[in-house]
Homo-oligomer: 412 residues x 4
């Protein structure tokens, strides 16, 4: 039996952190003994526990330690551990035994000092610049030969998200992937959260799928952009094409709506819209040349809002603005997601999951889709902070805009 | 090879009736030869076809004839056929070989005269009163020993529904079980259809599930009732209990909404609401005793709107108004559905399907649910006229009420 | 500020009971102070906590106490409390302030003695026979005027289910409502659990919907019955009708399968099957008269397996065996569910939820459906022990039978 | 009123082509008059219709003619029309008014001769090499300045797919997106179709998502590959990573299966698997270096089966074999899809839709997913030949392999 002693502190009972840690220890085949526990007597008080872990082999012990670290349980001796660094053997390859990141705030101990890992994101490595005493999250495709990468998990500290005191409504929505909810209230909460975010100069990221245009909700996204509730927009070729098709062939879209969506000219208009923008040279140029004069992307250009159109193999065309290389698209998304504090994802699976993968756990995420499976899938991916709302995107955005309009008056 | 000649007329090409009949013949293993065809040259013109069918055995031929009859294809000699009647052998049992109904308008030939079958409904028998020269659709549990019941399919004529000329939007929605639709337009169409129905003194039936209350949509159903857009309401114990719970414990439901729907007191209130109504003796009595003072059922009582609460094995309580015997409940529903020309089914599977089973094909049906499977299931059951809309019921009803308010002004 | 002190013990940290209790206190607007805590040092050790709760008003305090009691947190003075009993005012009506049950093991204190509540089931009252010193769970429709019913929550103790030590696989499946699982393993676990249940003379309840017949899985349910893995069967008219239709018109069902399910003769056969059984007088009689000679219900009759066919308003017919009154059907289900230790629910929503409502929390429940929404819905209803498996019922039963066959050999 | 006369022939009544054409004319606001109709008297006979179309403006008439052409209705004068060709103005841009393709067999008339359009695919242009008298489908991103591209729709002929005589089971499955089907029969049909395809030297394309590995179905895909039922495989990074992770860390995946899928080490193994393959230089190299020794991709390499791994923005890593540029990935897929006659798509939305976009309508497509929405979505995209099966992919593949094994014996 090999043993190690870990400590854990914070709102560990109330935030379910202690029970989860005990759970993991036993599930991984190890044993625990609680050596000391101090429980905060009141809500605001912090608790503390010292736990001895016993495992059959050093390997097993390591696995347990690596895992419970994600919940903030750190070996007592770790305070004095340093990270082990090893040079990447070749471009795009981590050294063996590399440490794989979570999306939680993380620090590494280098030369007896704890330094924060910048741009934290799940499923990456950690690169350390010892001279500059900086640590950086490194996606695998960006690693260069010789880069110093953290291996093992010694000298790595993770700060689990605790639930806030007092609770916020948002938190309670976490598991509520249900169609039978009083959604009016939840939408008001989202509106208030967006307003608060903007009052604090926070950036809001919108990720949206083409269903937004199909269901007639584009006008509400335009309104959000105009009212400064969108600082950056992630989407695919589809959203942009359908938005532009609607801007270009408005009247015939009108005809389509009169005859239902399967109307005959759909395909043609969509490819013609792509051709027009390709001819103009891109969306910005098409706006400047007055080719498009309204819609989501017109408004983005006019308001100077950043957008990233990421390519997918199901794209027709695509528009010249689409970043067809998926690695470059991810890198653009990484860059533009910097400083975002609220992400609103609507009617998209691919772009929502891709964005969720890149965001740190500290970004509040709201995922809206009429399909419960999409909402559940996003919540399942370790993006702990995701709030799901199963509803139709058009009335959702309509209500959201209504709340944002109403709520702006009191502040005036 | 046994042969028979059938004729079929109407908008049989345009309404896909002719292709369907040819399809059925071949699928059932028989052959056809088109002896004569006259195709209407313009949209409004009717077409006519005379088709010879060949089958290997008389039995097979009978099967083909029975089946294509549902599409209005009638053996030429049938005009002179009479129905064969046989006495029911015992209570609740049809004679062998009984004719099983569709939900399409049907006539039977008795004593050389065609008489319409009253109260047509699918999966029943046809009882004939030869003295009175009346034919009636008979659910199996109502048949009495000695009742004369149609056997075989001779002397039975079915009138398939043709698509209307000119087309109505409603028709085009038929197959559109999709979440990505411009729903605003469809909702407006439904509103217009409801308005038209009321202008023509038609009756509107609403079938609703408890999700209506959970999602905060009850107020809109109240508005529909107040504006005379609901002539009869079918539901279960759940809708009534949640509506009454909300009427009785409004403030604590308010609290619940503030803390999300899974709040702690849900169960208790729901059973207490049931107990209160049982104590009062029923919903009407509870309204009279001022126990409940608002909500869906309060409004029904005040406006004197008929409702049928049909029992289910998942009911708690139930309320005294619930018809716990399912056969009696069906019979109540049958009675109250008489004369209905539009049925609006929302957020319910069980009650929607049960109602769909009882309605003739001529009643326009709109089925709204956030779950595409429910909408598809209803459309699949041979209730040919069902229009599906996959959306969230709360914003659906909110928009519907908005349209009905807006649209009432022009007529004033 | 009104205060009360509660105690709670057991695996309260590990089983998440303590965190949940603290959560509830705060969510209900009250405060807590942990006066004393003893944490078990090892997995098997029990923990103990004494918590002081403060609320603004006596009413609020009562609400908190009532709620946390469901998790086993009992006011310290309660050990000496007795229940308050009040006579039911009329038939089918509980006295005001009646105690509403959970489905967890419950005891009440009468004359200074704790007695177990028999036949515990959620959303009922508790009737006490003081002479006989017996307490019974009472569904509201069964209460008689003068029955002594528990009011308030003093003198009521609830025993929360703790997770077992060591864990069983079953437990881990609890929240796993996902389509992307290695289902082979889970099915083997279910098979082993069924086998263990039978070795311990436990009773297995199967609840099944008509999809079982439509997808060709009926033969596997027959095999389960033949191998003594079904002690009681709950279903509706649909399952029985389709099973019997298949038994009666096998060849034409064969034809149907060749031409796909929407084949032309479906409706007729289904109503004819009903008519045949009505003519025979019931399923048992039809077996005795050799009208049906195979299938699920044939096998039930031959093996003398109890079944309950509960009525629903969507039934055609129904078969004479169907209990059309839903209250009587519930009572039959209650009676037959006595002593069941494992419930396997497949391809049914209505019957699964109705059964889940009647079972105590100690019955292991497995719910299998291809629709994740059904599985989620069942898990959400407070039937804490429900294990969900999202898969197709035909291959599920095929694999289950395979495992049960394989596993019987080692014991031979 | 502007008028034009079109002709249409073939199994136009039986295949619903005539009714659809009449429908379109009226829906687009035009009128029709049937000038002549000859209906085939027997199943095998072809029919013929000459229809005069009247529209309010030349533009409207053009729209109608363009649309009904997709169903094979051609203006009578068209037989002598030639296509109009215009040079592409710049790279990646079609000339204004370009003709947009369907996925149906298409011919264009150049210099008084009809020539087939090669590599037909929907939503592309048609490029013509007048010297060589060849016409080619051109995706927009491939067009070069000066390429001659068809504009307008004169001189373009489309050959609608007619339903086959005699019908094949496959056809009847077309609309059957239902979970309640006798799937055993359908799976056997798919097996037979695969066998027939291979006997005729046809190529089978498999498109698969990572759920295949998660649900334990990878072994069956390996078996299909080994038995020569897979000639080309399309997938994403996810399928390959999970397959390789399973090949590399088999035992720990075993551990995972024992503890359910959410086991603790998932993330790490997945990124480590990626790192190993990046280190080796690619999948083929990893096989050659004995890094991976089993699994789907190992078998592909050993059997020399082509695969295309197309990139997506949700990829981790990715593997070196992934084509990260989506346009290049589409081009690879286009190339490898040449000559495919059956496509089997399982547990993937993105790759299934992307592949569906590239295939001509003549390729039989089977789409299997547990989520009805995915199956419906694929059927809705104009890939007319798609057959949907809503079931769990693991038992589907297990049964499919069983049938292919069984069925090989008779031929031996």
């Amino acid at each position: 039996m090999v043993r190690s002693i870990v400590e854990i502190s914070g709102h560990i009972i109330d935030s379910l952190i202690l029970p989860k840690v005990l759970d993991l220890i036993v599930n991984l085949g190890a044993e625990f003994e609680i050596l000391k526990i101090q429980v905060g007597h009141r809500r605001a008080d912090r608790s503390f526990a010292r736990i001895q872990i016993g495992a059959a082999t050093p390997n097993e012990l390591e696995r347990v330690l690596a895992k419970i670290k994600e919940h903030g349980a750190l070996p007592v001796e770790t305070e004095h551990d340093s990270v082990e660094l090893r040079a990447a053997p070749m471009a795009g390859v981590f050294p063996d035994g590399f440490y794989s990141t979570t999306n939680l705030p993380t620090a590494v101990r280098v030369n007896d000092r704890w330094i924060d890992v910048e741009s934290i994101e799940m499923d990456c490595g950690i690169g350390v610049d010892v001279q500059a005493m900086r640590a950086q999250c490194v996606p695998i495709h960006r690693v260069q030969p010789g880069d110093l990468i953290v291996v093992g998990h010694h000298g790595v500290k993770i700060f689990p998200l605790e639930r806030q005191v007092p609770r916020q409504t948002f938190e309670f929505m976490n598991n509520a992937v249900s169609t039978e909810q009083p959604k009016g209230f939840l939408i008001r909460e989202i509106a208030e959260s967006m307003k608060r975010t903007r009052q604090e100069q926070g950036r809001i990221l919108v990720v949206a799928g083409p269903g937004l245009v199909h269901t007639g909700a584009a006008r509400y996204l335009v309104e959000l952009i105009e009212r400064d509730y969108v600082q950056v927009l992630f989407a695919g070729n589809g959203l942009a094409v359908h938005d532009i098709e609607s801007a270009l062939y408005g009247t015939s879209l009108g005809v389509n709506l009169d005859k239902n969506i399967r109307a005959s000219e759909g395909h043609q208009h969509h490819l013609r819209a792509i051709n027009e923008i390709r001819k103009a040279g891109g969306i910005k140029q098409a706006v400047e040349q007055n080719v498009i004069q309204r819609g989501i992307f017109f408004t983005c250009v006019k308001k100077n809002i950043d957008f990233v159109l990421a390519g997918s193999i199901r794209d027709d065309g695509p528009l010249p603005d689409v970043v067809t290389d998926t690695l470059r698209a991810q890198d653009h998304m990484r860059e533009k997601a910097q400083g975002v504090s609220l992400a609103l994802m609507m009617a998209t699976t691919l772009h929502a999951i891709a964005t969720g993968n890149l965001l740190p756990a500290t970004v509040k995420t709201v995922c809206v889709d009429i399909n419960p499976a999409v909402v559940t899938k996003l919540s399942d991916r370790g993006t702990f902070q995701a709030t799901g709302l199963v509803t139709d995107v058009e009335p959702f955005l309509r209500s959201l805009c209504q709340h944002l309009r109403d709520e702006q008056q009191p502040t005036a």
